[in-house]
Symmetry: C2
Subunit: 128 residues, 2 copies
C-alpha cells in the first residue's frame, strides 16, 4: 500500500501551510477565541493585507472557518484538534530554545539551503 506516500505528501502539504511564524501565531491567537482580521492584525502587529493572505491560505486548507458579522470577517479554528497538535509542538520547541543556540541552527542550515551572508547573529560556538 504505497498509500503511505500519498499520506506523506498530504501531511507535508499541511505542515507547509503551518510552517510559517505568522500563521503559527495566528493559530495561537485563534485558539483562545475567534477574532476578526483587524484584531488579528493588531495582535500580531502586521499589515492587514498580509494577515488576510495568511488567513486565506489557512482557509483554503480548511484550517479555519470564516463568518461575517457586519463588515467584519470573523475567523475561528475549524479543527481545534489540529491546533492542539500544533501547540503541543510549541511546547516541544520551548525545550529546545536555550538548550541549543538558535543561531547555530540557522548557521548549519546554510550548509545545504544555499549560503548567504546572513548577518543574523553571533555565530561561533555551539555548532558541532
Amino acid at each position: 500500500m504505497p498509500n503511505r506516500q500519498v499520506i506523506a505528501k498530504e501531511l507535508a502539504d499541511i505542515l507547509k501551510v503551518i510552517a510559517h511564524p505568522d500563521r503559527i501565531r495566528l493559530v495561537e491567537e485563534l485558539r483562545a477565541s475567534e477574532m476578526d482580521v483587524n484584531s488579528l492584525a493588531a495582535a500580531l502587529e502586521l499589515p492587514g493585507a498580509r494577515v488576510s493572505q495568511h488567513l486565506s491560505l489557512l482557509r483554503a486548507h480548511r484550517l479555519v472557518d470564516e463568518r461575517r458579522e457586519g463588515r467584519r470577517h470573523v475567523y475561528r479554528l475549524s479543527q481545534p484538534e489540529l491546533a492542539a497538535w500544533i501547540v503541543s509542538g510549541v511546547d516541544f520547541v520551548e525545550g529546545r530554545i536555550g538548550e541549543i543556540s538558535r543561531s547555530s541552527i540557522t548557521d548549519a542550515k546554510r550548509l545545504w539551503a544555499g549560503e548567504k551572508s546572513d548577518s543574523d547573529s553571533s555565530k561561533g560556538a555551539t555548532g558541532a
Copy 2:
C-alpha cells in the same frame, strides 16, 4: 512577552524541515529502526544523493544522528519524541484523506500561491 514570537519562528523552522514528503517518509522509516543511506534510498526509491541531502538537513537540525559502520553511514532518530509527534500528525491527516478531495486542496492552494496549470495527480474522484 514577545518570546512567543521567537518560539513561533523556531517551531516554523522545524516544521519547514519536516514539511517535505521525502523527509516525512525518512522519519517514518527511521522510527522502526536505524538504517544506512543506501537502505533508505532503496526503501524510498530515491537517488542516494537526494536522500543524503535530506538527511543532512535533518542532521543540521539535530533531528537525526549519524554513526559510521565501515563504509556505511547509519542514521537514527535523535528525538523519538518529535517523531512520535509527527506521526500523530499523520494519523490526523489520514482522517482527512478520502474525506476531502486531494485535488481540491491543491486547487484551492493555487488561489494564493500563484496559479499554474498543475496537471498533477491521478485525482480519483474521492470527492466531497
